[in-house]
Amino acid sequence: MPNTTFLFFLTCLDNFGDKLSKEEPRIGVYVCHCGENIAGAVDVEEVRRFAEKLPNVVIARDYLFMCSDPGQEIIKKDIRDGLINRVVVASCTPKTHEPIFRRACEAAGLNKYYLEMANIRDQCAWAHWHEKKKATEKAKYLVASAVAKARLLEPLEDRYVEMNQNVLVIGGGISGIFASLDLANAGYKVYLVEKEPSIGGNMAKLDKTFPTNDCASCILTPLMVEVANNENIELLTYSEVESVEGSVGNFKVKIRRKQTWVDWDKCTGCGACINVCPPAARVPNEFNEGLDERGAIYIQFPQAVPRKAVIDIDACVKCAGREFGKPPKVSKDGRKILAPCEKACPTGACLRDEPRDPEGSILEIEVGAIIVATGYRVMDKKYFKEFSPSSPNVITALQMERLISATGPSDGKLIVPSDIKKYKEGKNAREPKVIVYISCVGSRSKRYHSYCSKICCMYMLKQAMQLKESYPDLDIYIFFIDVRTTGKDFDEYYMRCKELGIHIIRGKVGGINQLPNERLLVRGYDSDIGKPVELESDIVVLASAVEPSQGMEELSRKLGISIGIEGFLKEKHPKLYPVDTLSEGIFICGCAQGPKDIPDSVAQAKAAASSVMSLLSKGKMKVEPLIAEIDRDRCSGCGICEPLCPYKAITITEKRKKEKKAELNPALCKGCGVCVVACPSKAIKLHGYTFEQLLSQVEALSIELER
């Protein structure tokens, strides 16, 4: 080579940051039998002989199981003996085995990125099991291609990225609470974001829990208080996640704190304001699932944590013309005209003067990992027209739970829902004599949700048992399609219900009609006897399907995680990774991942917390060096790459000479290669998949095999 061309070549190499070793590649090819998996379709010996003859290959061996200890030892010995300085393993999938062989190279003292694998099992032997001759030929091509790339491999080095040690938990139900507590007690700082004014989620709405019939509030409230008092947990209620940027170890999250119109530093939760909110300002009470109403200023429920008031300005009737965001009007004799809630508050916590900020205030935080625990809701009864949803005495199971709860609309007294208003007015409210339960309303259905909601069979039995024990004369009929009481103590629970005299009927209800006096005519079927049945009932409870919470879809888009076909968040692997997602650093747990009861939710919450701890505990994260690199001298500053990067890793910046060039943040780059392909100047290189490597592989695939 003439000197000038050689120097040009060298400068190219230097400018490109190329680290091609100056020594000749000496490649060792190792062909695996993989028991019968490869050898059953591919003639391993023939492939080995073929590999031997390839240029730069100094040794070619075969073995029964390359990944085993003795198999790996073969490779390590060749490296230690100085025989080879590049390794090609023709075996199974790199997805599972690349790390194994990389570790073997490293252990023997060779840079682990000097390894290339050829998948002659999944992509060859298994795919062409019945065409042995062609499979062997294809295996040869695959090996030739791997060898061609091996010649051009670079000795890359692993990088390390600092991981932020804070954690964001989205959702303050039982799952979010447990995840936060486990992390906080391990020393991590947790931001717990909850969209309602209080934490507690759906569990706070329950009266008792199966199978122990524990009082839900009794077991939940101490945990809620613990969360509030834990110095490592920053509780951000009445807030929602606005945006998420960055990637694992370095998430930048914006949290929108909704406007409460009450100063929570001053509010003591005394409840004086609630009593004076006028009757004109009433909206359905979400905590009681719409069975009764609340005022515009409200505390979510008596055991709320934090126990603070919030003004719902859409419901507020602006008493005496008291506007929001303006100072109060002044009467003729100089007194301020205040709203009743403002007057009643002993600490002056009512903040109606504050300017209106529909966006709420934004809090920016940085975290290393995120846990999504947004929980569930139950389907509204309005979708099920054949069940006479317009009748007030047809209710969902969660509504029934509120009805029998001591903090519910009738203070726990069992009355027909159509008489709740009467009860509140102090009049005589009718007590039900017959209650009917219907399972699988919206679940196991082609029209709504094909899945089984899992918890309904048990909670219907639980409510029935509770009611029957308190009101022995009550007639309760539960219409099941199948009775699904799986789990410890659950089937025994079911048998106890039968002993109590609760009627269990296997057959779905096909129609409900209204009778006079707000009673209901239920048309069902008894499969065991094989005849249609009908009865008159005072209340019908629908076990409607469990769905993910409202807003979960939007949240998943902000986080960049997927949702499964049935609507719940998608886990990385349904069997082995139920709390991970395909986005590293983001975990899911509880009912956001799928319908489940409290013990399973808690188990998943703890699993997610533990996964976060495994991720963050080392403080640094090893990142593979197979990422992109931009040559600023080649870069023309066209800017095509910047918007294409899905991880926002590229920015166009000005550095020396005031020229705008592309700059890559290696911490964010995932090595997807989109920018590499798009760059018209070929200024971007993807380590591990360079143009030269790929083109040499293509060339190797076009050789003529000797017949």
């Binding site: 196991r444 259905s445 296997r506 057959g507 096909g510 129609g511 079927y525 499969s527 249609p532």
Partner: protein, 180 residues
Amino acid sequence: MNVINLTYLREREKKEYGKRTITVIQEFGAENIAQCMQCGACSSICPLSISGFEWYNKKLIKGIELGLRDEFFDDPTPWACVACNRCSEVCPRDVNPFEVMFAMRRLMIEEFVIPPTALEALRSLYEHGHAIYVENRKARKAVGLDEKPPTTDSNEKALEELRIILKNTRLIELGLFPLK
């Protein structure tokens, strides 16, 4: 014996019919029959079930699935279906039990299992273009209408067209009555 011998049914399906009964029913128009989870919603409001017929929707589907076939031929239930479709309206799996009943009819008719009233209606359809046909026209005259309504009754060409259509249907192969 009160026992249903499933082995016998399965052998019969394989040897005598060559096809599972459920497959035959699917081919006759009840494509979703396998989706049924036997919940019973359809039977709770089916007029046949309520009035006391034997092989109404849910039970018929189960019987078909097990392999019963000839056993249904003595039973009048499939021919009693009023096609109200309330079953299809409430079925959570979109099985469309109504289609199963009518698919059963289409199977039964192959074996000449058809009640005399239905056969008469078909014959009348071919002969006059009306399933229900009454010779006596006093009622029409009494209310001031023409004796013959503006249907195939008074339109020979239309009746002929209808007959051509009927001759191009399964009626020809079934040979229930002569189609002249």
